[in-house]
């Protein structure tokens, strides 16, 4: 679905679009009730959880997730984290979440997190498209200098997607994860504002 033809032209086209919209998806505000319901559903998919982060898979009530989201998104509204839901342009379906945390305004660095809970949308460019929106937002709107992320060695689909969006591997925390009795590395990736601009 991606092509290399006229990347400048293509960026020109993207620039003329709304900030929170890409080719396949757009970002919408994470309303706690909606986010909690979807999150509870996605967290039942243990593969999704094991791709998403290091916490052990576990099951909590929708109410508990709602309480978390209320606290994060409504009550605290912390200055060092932001996150949105990812919605498809075609079906208007919420398929995942994306955001920044640990934003270091002084240094211009932040950590990216992304997860697609709806499996039918894996490997089809939706995540990459969402990441491109986030990069543009981070560099053109938030004026950050770089973005960081960590991804697990066994998540090659995500690594490919991040590379497509312009991230490069900056190192690996050896044997960081223990899954089913095997150890896996956690890979660090990063992208600088200048690298993003050149694309």
């Amino acid at each position: 679905m991606e092509n290399d033809v006229g990347s400048d032209l293509k960026r020109g086209k993207l620039m003329s679009k709304p900030l929170f919209q890409g080719e396949l998806v757009r970002f919408v505000a994470a309303e706690p009730q909606l986010a909690a319901g979807l999150f509870a559903k996605w967290m039942r998919d243990s593969e999704f959880v094991r791709l998403l982060d290091t916490d052990p898979a576990r099951l909590l009530s929708v109410d508990k997730y709602k309480e978390w989201f209320e606290k994060d998104l409504v009550e605290e509204q912390k200055n060092d984290e932001l996150f949105f839901l990812i919605r498809t342009l075609e079906e208007d379906l919420t398929i995942g979440l994306i955001g920044l945390d640990g934003i270091q305004w002084v240094h211009g660095d932040a950590w990216v997190g992304i997860g697609l809970g709806e499996r039918e949308y894996w490997g089809k460019g939706y995540g990459t498209d969402a990441m491109r929106i986030l990069l543009r937002y981070a560099f053109e709107e938030l004026n950050l200098h770089r973005l960081s992320l960590s991804v697990f060695e066994y998540n090659s689909r995500a690594i490919r997607s991040y590379e497509k969006a312009g991230f490069v591997i900056e190192g690996r925390a050896r044997q960081f994860l223990n899954r089913d009795g095997l150890r896996y590395d956690m890979i660090f990736m990063g992208i600088l504002r200048d690298e993003w601009k050149e694309r």
């Binding site: 240094h107 660095d109 770089r146 925390a173 050896r174 044997q175 960081f176």
Partner: protein
């Protein structure tokens, strides 16, 4: 090394709990040395009053208690010798706060955690207190918490820390380019890691076992 090998007593220092009233005064004083905060990493350099620091202590102990994924120690100087005790007064000397040592972000299911160490007063650096505290903290991480690996993030400009951790068998695993902006230029954040088996084979541990 066996069950009787002490976890908290080193050759020069020992690990202790926070003593909120007296420590907050000293730590507030440390924040007036911007260099200390810069050496530690990315956090905003600012001045903190003893009252603000005491509140941080309360938060730290609350999290230690409720979340159970971090361990915070103060580093204090061991009495130099009987003679020194006679001269300086043992209680005062052994109470002397040098810095802090902590393990946090522990992910129990993976057996991994992150550590940090700081010696607050510039005049007390370079005397081996940090090495001794690190040896104790690694012993605690691997012997008591049974972790599989530990890691630390170091700003590129903190070469002294880099040498210390490399001496302790840590390996540089990642360099996050231009992740810090200090003194008008960009610096890398180095991520170092140490596996249990590397610690077990390290000279440091042998030295430690002989104490």
């Amino acid at each position: 090394m066996d069950l009787n090998t002490p976890l908290f007593e080193g050759q020069l220092v020992y690990l202790a709990s926070i003593k909120p009233d007296q420590d907050a005064e000293i730590e507030s004083h440390w924040t007036h040395d911007a260099e200390f905060q810069r050496l530690l990493g990315k956090e905003l350099v600012r001045l903190l009053s003893p009252a603000q620091i005491k509140k941080n202590y309360t938060e730290i102990e609350k999290e230690m208690d409720e979340k159970g994924n971090q361990f915070y120690f103060t580093i204090r100087r061991l009495p130099l010798s009987e003679r020194a005790e006679a001269v300086h007064g043992a209680v005062q000397d052994s109470d002397f706060l040098l810095g802090f040592a902590r393990l946090d972000w522990i992910a129990w299911s993976h057996g991994v955690g992150s550590l940090s160490i700081g010696i607050g007063n510039p005049e007390e650096r370079g005397k081996g207190y940090g090495s001794d505290a690190l040896r104790l903290l690694l012993g605690y991480a691997f012997r008591e918490l049974n972790l599989y690996r530990v890691c630390i993030a170091i700003p590129e400009y903190n070469q002294i820390a880099l040498r210390l951790f490399e001496k302790a068998a840590f390996k540089v695993e990642a360099r996050r380019r231009e992740a810090l902006h200090r003194k008008g230029r960009r610096w890398e954040v180095l991520h170092l890691g140490l596996l249990r088996e590397e610690w077990e084979q390290s000279e440091w541990r042998t030295m430690w076992a002989q104490i």
